[in-house]
Point group: C2
Chain length 146, copies 2
């Protein structure tokens, strides 16, 4: 009956744990100058066609905040800004080789972090859970509202 509260708290704790674990693994791979939020930026940029404003929306922050994040990633050599082919105002974001490497590292880390869940639930129930999550979690900015 009191599952509701437990559920919320546990989901919170789980998400914190996943982020922390993925971040730890990525750091350990040599990307010590990256924060968790950067991984979500990479995820969006790697899809292609992203501008700073797109990134801002994806991360759920102001475009100024996104611009600062992009500036940092450019300075550290993970991201490059290309001129936009059809819009002289905009700059298309792309990943450098280091950016792609970091993205791959984050992918691997995420896989590793989820292994206990795959094993505990079994593939079938795990897939069901992912399906439920996909169905019930409205698309929105990837960001902790704290």
């Amino acid at each position: 009956m009191d599952d509701a509260l437990a559920f919320s708290a546990l989901v919170l704790a789980l998400s914190g744990q996943l982020v922390q674990e993925i971040h730890a693994r990525v750091s350990q791979q040599g990307f010590e100058d990256l924060r968790p939020a950067h991984g979500f930026a990479f995820a969006r940029i790697s899809l292609g066609g992203a501008t700073t404003a797109d990134l801002a929306e994806h991360l759920g922050v102001t475009k100024q905040a996104a611009a600062q994040l992009v500036e940092e990633l450019v300075r550290k050599g993970y991201v490059v800004r290309h001129p936009h082919p059809h819009d002289a105002r905009a700059r298309l974001l792309g990943l450098t080789e280091a950016g792609w490497a970091a993205t791959r590292a984050a992918d691997q880390a995420a896989r590793a972090a989820v292994v206990p869940w795959r094993e505990a639930l079994g593939e079938a129930r795990f897939s069901e859970l992912v399906a439920d999550l996909t169905r019930l979690t409205p698309p929105g900015p990837i960001r902790p509202v704290w």
Copy 2:
């Protein structure tokens, strides 16, 4: 196969959504001067016997940060500091009537936020999920590592 990444991202998104929804409901009940983190502080304080240092550990922040949070809650009339019966250094934290009201509001909000999940999964599978979460999520500070 690529469920791993999706799983992590979805859990993140879900936790953000839950926090946001609970916070919105609590605000709407008239507690507009509370932030999401305060709810977790209330949860710990309501158990009784909590000191500022206990709270710091529970929230995963430094004790200075916890002290600031407590100071704020005291100033806003949600929390009171009692002398500790067996330790002249420590102060026991307690909730005022307003603090209890906020805690009840947060409880209700959490229940409401979880309703879609109960309905979508059914009680049986929902309970299973909570059990899995309890089993697989190591106890740790309730805090978004971002």
